[in-house]
Amino acid sequence: MRLWFPSLLVVAAFSSAQPSAARAQAIPRTADGKPDLSGIWQVLNTAAWDIQDHAAQKGAPGGPGVVEGNEIPYTPAALAQKKKNYEQRATLDPETRCYLPGVPHITYMPYPFQIVQKPTEVTILYEYVHTVRYIFTNNTPHPKGPIEWWLGDSRGRWEGDTLVVDVVHFNDQTWFDRAGNFHSEALHVVERYTPTDADHITYAVTIEDPTVFTRPWNMSMVLYRHKEKNFQLYEYECYGFDFEKIYPYPDLGAAR
């Protein structure tokens, strides 16, 4: 495939010089030398259920968290709110209403997503509720605001091999997970996408929200490339309002 042609050249050059590095395929690159993040990716963790260390419960897999140091520095009032969210999560969790899940939550939903990279814009198509996100990489600033978007406004830049994305202009209607971890509309997210070889991206996130947290805190996880032959995104049209019972309409099961 033409997409991979530059990367193969790099591998060939690299492996002759450094045999130990040949096992891991080198990072694919675009014509302008930037890492090419294009492809279909997915996390292999349980952060969508709880971003902190957690044991399994019925219907919810357990696993190590993705928060560095595991502690989230809530203010005392916010910590009380988090506990209330957790206790009432069956009714309060915005995910049950199929809203766009916010950033970085959309990244670690247990569904694949496709990165489409262009020099001035990186588009991410997520399978979960067909979420679309544009990351503008043309040196433009955030719009002035105030704006409250579900996914915020994303402006990216390259620092070496890392795509750094600054995201602001959120609403306060999304959670970080199903365990009640939350933020306000003052949320400021910095994402760092660093490819470590052809098939892995280290995804590091800094969360800042002075109305909810006493200091910035970090998450870190790995994004894995889907390598299955002919892998493609399907759809997850979220089924709020019991739509699966009423559409498609007309229901022509009898006619068929």
Binding site: L100, V116, H130, F241
Partner: protein, 269 residues
Amino acid sequence: MKSNLIVALGICVLSTAALVGQESRPWPPQKLSDGQPDVQGIWAATMAGSTSLTNPISGGEDFDQRVSGKEIKRPSRIIDPPDGQLPYQPWAAARQKQEEKDYEHPTRPEHIDTQHRCLLSGIPRLYTIVPAYKIVQTPGQVIFIWDEYHAYRVIPLDNRPHPASNVKLWMGDGRGHWEGNTLVVDTTNVRGARLTYIGDFYTDNAHVTERMTFNDANTMTYEATVTDPTVFTRPWTMRIVHKRRPDDEVWENSCWEGNVNPDVWLDKK
């Protein structure tokens, strides 16, 4: 209906934008690294609207005709059969009439059109709506991303097989190839869906073949041939012309999040 007003406002905004969208772009188009003609950018249908395929009046015209009581006629989008009508089987023609009544006077949640619930409208319906969409091309694929409903479709050009036939997708599953400046897309795996507000429909047995011919730097002729032996007596083809729009940034368009309990839409009389 409230949606008609919103659509009418949308048309006012977009028709102004059309005048400034004709930027100078090379024609014939430049070739991308994998040989595809470069047709990237923002596009939208002209004379758009989901009211009807056979009398495709806009939402604004639909509103006018309801207020004035005077019927407005527009040329049918159906180019085959030549009479411009959808070739329904008798039972399906009756069903369409019933669907039209259900749309006007919804008494059950399923009578509400999927567009009003912000669900994906599928193919070819999304090529008839007013809001714009964006074409992005990368090696081996063409991607369409709609402003409305954050709908998208990724069309691989490598002739890979479709998913198993029991997989039904709101957007169907498209496989494309270029014939000169025409993108030909074969779409299977669709879910049965309404095609218009007046109750036109196909079932999940439908097969859609699209031909998107880029006529010049700013014009694309969209044609879709729908084959569904469950509903129609023969295949039929629709046509709608699309124009390029300015390359503005696309900002978040959340539709679903305004969803309310369907009861508030239903006709209680």
